[in-house]
Assembly symmetry: C2
């Protein structure tokens, strides 16, 4: 049972809770107190209790949290309890890195297509997936009901490709191109701007701010 109006700050922390709870589960730990979780996660116990209270009734005084239950519930909130079909546009190093990352599939993100505009790599197989021409993009999305597209191409091509994606009915774009995409209100964009991340690192290095969480 999720309360309405959970703050974006809490939402931002959920994937981290999910990761930690998954690790606990793998280690065979069934229950954990907010205090123990606090020690592991470097977040105060009261913050953890506050955060997890948003999802109602998971913890019990003096008893702790049921790790598996909490893991599954947070998974549902994050939408990783369902399979999501994903394609990657840009089969360079970054695109291949994502295609090769088995953990995404474990969390329900199933890569079914890999596209590039370089004919020299058409037909190349990456983790069982054949690189295709971006010309086939639109039909592939429609025929295979693809939800998510990872965009790992240079920024000068990204805007145009995003238009094709939206036209074909894609629901979410995981954007690694260093450009802001203008998309309709019903399309999700999640940006990964690596050079901005590197500049934040540089800022903290230059200004002696250490370990800042953004």
């Amino acid at each position: 049972m999720v309360k309405e109006g959970i703050s974006t700050a809490v939402i931002k922390r959920l994937p981290r809770y999910y990761r930690y709870l998954g690790e606990l589960l793998e280690s065979g730990i069934e229950r954990i107190s907010s205090g123990e979780l606090s020690g592991k996660m470097n977040v105060t116990a009261s913050q953890i209790r506050q955060d997890l209270n948003n999802f109602g009734g998971f913890g019990q005084q003096g008893y702790g949290y049921n790790v598996e239950y909490l893991y599954l519930e947070i998974g549902k909130i994050l939408g990783v309890d369902k399979k999501h079909s994903m394609i990657i546009i840009g089969a360079g190093n970054l695109g291949q890195a994502i295609a090769n990352y088995a953990n995404f599939e474990k969390r329900g993100f199933v890569v079914t297509g890999l596209f590039d505009n370089n004919p020299e790599i058409y037909g190349k197989i990456v983790r069982g997936i054949e690189v295709q021409s971006t010309e086939k993009l639109k039909d592939f999305i429609i025929n295979n009901k693809i939800e998510i597209a990872a965009l790992t191409i240079p920024k000068n091509e990204a805007v145009k490709v995003a238009e094709v994606l939206i036209d074909a009915g894609i629901k979410a774009i995981w954007n690694f191109a260093h450009v802001d995409l203008n998309v309709p209100k019903d399309v999700v964009v999640e940006n990964v701007h690596l050079s901005e991340s590197l500049m934040r690192l540089s800022y903290n290095l230059t200004n002696d701010k250490k370990n800042t969480e953004y």
Copy 2:
């Protein structure tokens, strides 16, 4: 002249300002008003004025901002006006993607070393840099006064390698491994947790929250 105590929210937006100003500069635009910048960046003009006021005296009423001056000043604040020596540990697809990304070097991040623990790729050249054994890591950092290490290796190896890096005097870790690193107070860590990014996308897709900026 930077005011003390700039909020992390402002700092977080700086790389984006820097990117837009850089693009304006490349297009030969010398002056821009907060209104015009607002239209491009999808941030309100008043937010832009507030943000940039933190850095004192850049704008003039009815005259706009001097693009080059603002670009250079923000660059100084971000620390990208200086060269930073960087190495990459993990010469897989992700490590190679970073090594190949010429824009980082343009912003002063000069990759001088590439390390891996897979003997099969020792000697491989990526963008002029030879892949070396991680056994040579410590000496290389010390001898070449390396500031930044990008960690593009699996999480089970990352903690141990981070200890070597810190021991050798590295100042900042750009961490792509999906694990939280415990580092001394004087070492900067900037995390890029791709699977958490993908889960935020999934959350927004599942809960119909579109284009949320975190």
